[in-house]
Assembly symmetry: C2
DNA sequence: GACTGTGAAAAGTTTCACAGCT
DNA sequence: AGCTGTGAAACTTTTCACAGTC
């Protein structure tokens, strides 16, 4: 790696802290899990990096490299046993565990989330819901009884909740997230269009359809994206 | 730019095709727009890369570099005029235009999307909705009348729709996307948990809360992410 | 004095290409 | 023969650091 002919002294060659897996790699694993699940459902018993790459639109080399961070799951000359690789990846991601999830905010969006059937099949269980509007407290939404915010700490502890989905108005989001962090929550899925600040070690992912749309319009302008000065207004 | 003392020969130093802006840069611009809007609402007249970086949790250098792909928007020694930079970025992203958007699929999710008030303030107008379930056709949802799929091509053309939001079951998503592409749609926001295949030049962004959750559980396992047999310390 | 804009260095990520196992 | 696993190369993205400008 130190191929640079210059530089007389010691070069720190290992860029990555040993044992650390790049975050981009982690972010791709769930997609591998999904494809493997589909292959399993379709009755496929073996696959290979070529086939997986086609499904995901990435190069076979990338898939092999990603997997190599965790071990050697394939058989040379044959490929991967779908069921085995799926089990390994789920294990790595912690998807063999069941995860209890709290939803904070039971407005229109929170309601939709609590009624959405797509989380449970993947091992996520929405087991609690909180709202600061007393009119909502006590209501039954998606099989869960809405509790007041004051009960959050207790319930999070009692029910071993480690993940929260935040669906409150932007103005309240940072406060709610601070409360959740204080309760020991370490992963947050945020639906508000804001950039929440959290301490180190707390993971946040945001669902932000407006940002997604806005990052596409750039490519939609009449005659292609305008380049630095030339091609001005449309 | 200052020292234009170019080298002796022709060196392909620029790895990037000239005039091309990296996609990661584009994906950050909407966030800059959002922060600048907030600063403007808060009455701030000027800002700088330091302040923007704090809000977005990125380095000031990155912000300056990102902006430098498009021009020189700051004043040395002073920073950026909030209003001006905001206008420039909106221009670059095409957010000064109004965009007509179609929603395909008016089930629970499509309903929630059509009733969500968060798109319009940003210049996106949900002006049409389609569903293949005739029981839904003719219903009025979020101020839009649901049309049969068969009318899609006509309506997309008539109403200059260039963006679609797809909220149909996974099994139908690829078919619907193919139809949309055939109608001339070039940007798609997909809510189904699948990896859609589209021709070159068509942009797709997916909203996928399950993938987001699954990419966080890795970091939640009891004693830190396990590394290939051994266990990483925390 | 303060802050931008930007080449150049560093860090990170992807792809290549091939030895080696089945 | 077919495909993995992996060092090394190629490429991309971020960060540094400072000349230049206000």
């Amino acid at each position: 790696m130190t191929s640079s002919s210059s530089g007389p002294g010691i070069r720190p060659v290992t860029a990555l802290p040993p044992g650390e897996v790049p975050e981009v790699v982690i972010s791709r694993l769930p997609q591998y899990v999904r494809i493997l699940s589909q292959l399993l459902d379709a009755g496929e018993e073996v696959t290979n990096s070529q086939q997986l790459g086609e499904q995901l639109q990435v190069t076979p080399a990338q898939i092999r490299k990603d997997l190599s961070y965790f071990g050697r799951f394939g058989k040379q000359g044959r490929g991967y046993v779908v069921r085995d690789l799926l089990r390994e990846l789920k294990q790595i991601l912690g998807l063999n565990s069941e995860w209890n999830v709290a939803v904070v905010g039971v407005g229109r969006l929170g309601n939709a989330i609590l009624n959405y059937p797509g989380f449970n099949p993947d091992g996520f269980h929405l087991v609690a819901a909180f709202d600061n509007n007393l009119a909502n407290v006590g209501r039954e939404v998606g099989g869960v009884s809405v509790q007041p915010m004051a009960e959050m700490a207790q319930t999070v502890a009692d029910r071993s909740i480690s993940i929260a989905i935040v669906a409150v108005p932007s103005a309240h989001t940072q406060t709610v997230i601070d409360q959740l962090v204080a309760c020991g929550i370490r992963a947050i899925l945020n639906y508000a269009p804001i950039n929440a600040q959290v301490p180190d070690g707390i993971r946040v992912r945001s669902i932000d359809p407006v940002l997604a749309l806005q990052s596409m319009t750039y490519y939609l302008t009449e005659d292609g994206p305008s380049i630095n000065g030339s091609t001005a207004a449309r």
